[in-house]
Symmetry: C2
Subunit: 378 residues, 2 copies
């Protein structure tokens, strides 16, 4: 492959497009095997070219973490959008504006107050909004427990208020804390069981609840059974990262995002190589700190992507990274890693590292790079 990366300004966020496409295929085929739809979470890439690749591979609509992502996707022709953060009353006008332009936008709630705010706003506008109820399947964040009577109260509030109760959704985000295939499979089953149970309780109360949406990358890749589920949401699988590597759901040759960096100095007596990839490039995410293998601020690779055993981005200031190595003590770091040479750093968390960059450099199978812009802000 021609060395097109050597001409890039650094730091740069590089997508290995072949790996990304394999990751997309892997998840899509797995979901098709289960007979469920895949609704990718675009918060990872926030990039239309990546989203297009997911849709082209067969994804059904998208999940977003902000209404700005929804607007961006809708402007690009994607109409089926689930905004997977509990609806803040102040954001309802923005959501309604999308609906009125023709977007099939779904919003979520997990409280009576939230449901009442939706009903009051939409009713005042003479509109019916598509609403899902968030289920808490693992206690890690938001949602209503499937066996809590609040579930039925919220469903009834939405129904009585004239809203369209589309379904229930959950996210077993505690899967990021696991690293054992059996435990992951158990959590995936817990996520499935609790979400379908919530749907069944709502249906048993005489209300409609056609959709059951679950998912996280680790549970989506670990589930043995998706009976009763209609769609799966997952995000970080598109790039994977060191946290997912430690969770055990990807191999090192599936990590599709890296940061290209330049060596700018050495502190030889300490064995340090200084780079221009600090935390502004990598993010401050230290997601592997509490996992079985701590990669500090990232795993260091050669410019061609070859993993350098024991080479870590040990610490990071804003625009400085400090790389430490396991080379023999008599190695000349100024020769092995001369000033001006490039390295590539695999990040802990692709969602966080990507967010530090206005655009990616997408490296395709022909060895050419393309600028793919990404969203920033709200």
């Amino acid at each position: 492959m021609p060395n097109v990366l050597s001409g890039l300004e650094t730091p740069a966020a590089v997508i290995d497009v072949a790996r990304m496409q394999r990751n997309i295929q892997r998840m899509q085929q797995r979901m098709e095997g289960f007979g469920v739809r895949l609704r990718p979470h675009v918060k990872t890439s926030k990039c239309l070219q990546v989203i297009d690749a997911q849709i082209s591979a067969g994804a059904s609509g998208v999940t977003v973490s902000t209404l700005k992502e929804a607007e961006h996707c809708f402007a690009a022709g994607i109409t089926d959008i689930l905004y997977a953060v509990a609806m803040a009353p102040g954001k309802l006008p923005q959501a309604l504006a999308l609906k009125r332009m023709g977007c099939k936008l779904s919003i979520i709630t997990d409280s009576i107050a939230g449901a009442r705010a939706i009903v009051a706003f939409a009713g005042g506008q003479g509109e019916v909004l598509d609403v899902w109820i968030e289920v808490d399947s693992d206690g890690h964040r938001s949602g209503i427990k499937y066996d809590d009577n609040l579930l039925l109260d919220v469903a009834q509030t939405l129904h009585d208020g004239g809203m369209q109760l589309v379904g229930v959704m959950t996210h077993a985000g505690s899967s990021y804390e696991l690293n054992d295939a059996e435990a992951l499979q158990r959590l995936a089953e817990q996520e499935r069981y609790q979400c379908i149970s919530a749907a069944e309780r709502i249906r048993a109360a005489g209300l409609t609840c056609p959709e059951v949406s679950i998912g996280s990358t680790p549970t989506a890749l670990s589930a043995a059974d998706l009976e009763g589920v209609t769609e799966v949401r997952a995000g970080v699988y598109v790039f994977f990262d060191l946290v997912m590597h430690n969770v055990g759901v990807c191999q090192t040759d599936e990590l599709a995002l890296s940061v290209l960096t330049t060596v700018i100095g050495h502190q030889l007596e300490k064995g340090w190589v200084i780079t221009d990839s600090g935390w502004m490039a990598m993010s401050r995410d230290r997601g592997t700190q509490r996992q079985q293998q701590d990669f500090a601020y990232g795993q260091v690779c050669h410019e061609d992507g070859q993993w350098i055993d024991g080479a870590l981005l040990r610490s990071a200031n804003q625009e400085h990274g400090i790389v430490t190595l396991q080379t023999p003590a008599d190695s000349d770091l100024t020769v092995l890693f001369p000033i001006g040479s490039h390295l590539r750093i695999l990040p802990n968390h692709a969602c966080a590292t990507g967010a530090q960059f206005p655009h990616y450099h997408a490296l395709d199978a022909n060895g050419e790079t393309h600028i793919w812009s990404r969203l920033h802000g709200w």
Copy 2:
């Protein structure tokens, strides 16, 4: 003050302009008292309105962490710019382009290889670049020890290669790890002494070295003496943050940056208030984790800025924050912090939190807000 914040979309990065102006005055007056110039580091704000306020208060030029910041400042009329990261050879054409447009751009190096790359490039272009040598005054990152003979070799390389050796500069970044006034004053003296000693060694070797530039916010605010120093650089003082509060160089009423957030849910049995400020808004910076007071992802305040004792942004997902409180167990969180209400979160690290936003909302003394955009990327 009229409640202008209630109308803002969240999350939003809010600057308290009155506090910011007091912070600027405090540092400027202190440096004028020492008779040294202040060259603010604009990596904290990356915002022209903030930089303008610093220049208007008397600052002499700016320090930048990227050449994009340099281009942005130069386009706004600021000509005296120090790029305070060791020069990567691949970035020399970008630096030269700035110089040829009339920018008085200073670059830095701390190695023979770096100096030779500068000499080779500039010589090939028939240009003389303004170069400073970086001194390592506390072992925390880059630079040459003042008593290392490499210092004179690099100076000689630059001189022999026809470059303008402007001065020496250092940054005692380890000051962020201190929290004791005496230790800070000792480190400030170490920073000063080692940097002026480096300049004196270069001068004693018969080379020119007019400038001696030192600084970090904690040492700048702790130094007892700046004899021999010509300028001080500091960045985060413009906003301050919880890390600086723990270091002990600012009071809580000097923290000028906060994140406005909306309550989107509760988990009552856990005592959680869920907000729309996750790590995408706060950054993943956990800078207070190893300090004497750990503020988790930030200190929670009421919308008007009033500190809520014991209220912390305990954990953060991408677009969800979990607030925990020290309210009595029988408090009704849905009444105290209802869905749709606003809170303000003081960040650990203003440089990192600011970087998550495309713009600030600057709240002035009249209670009006203004959009101030900031740079993103390289």
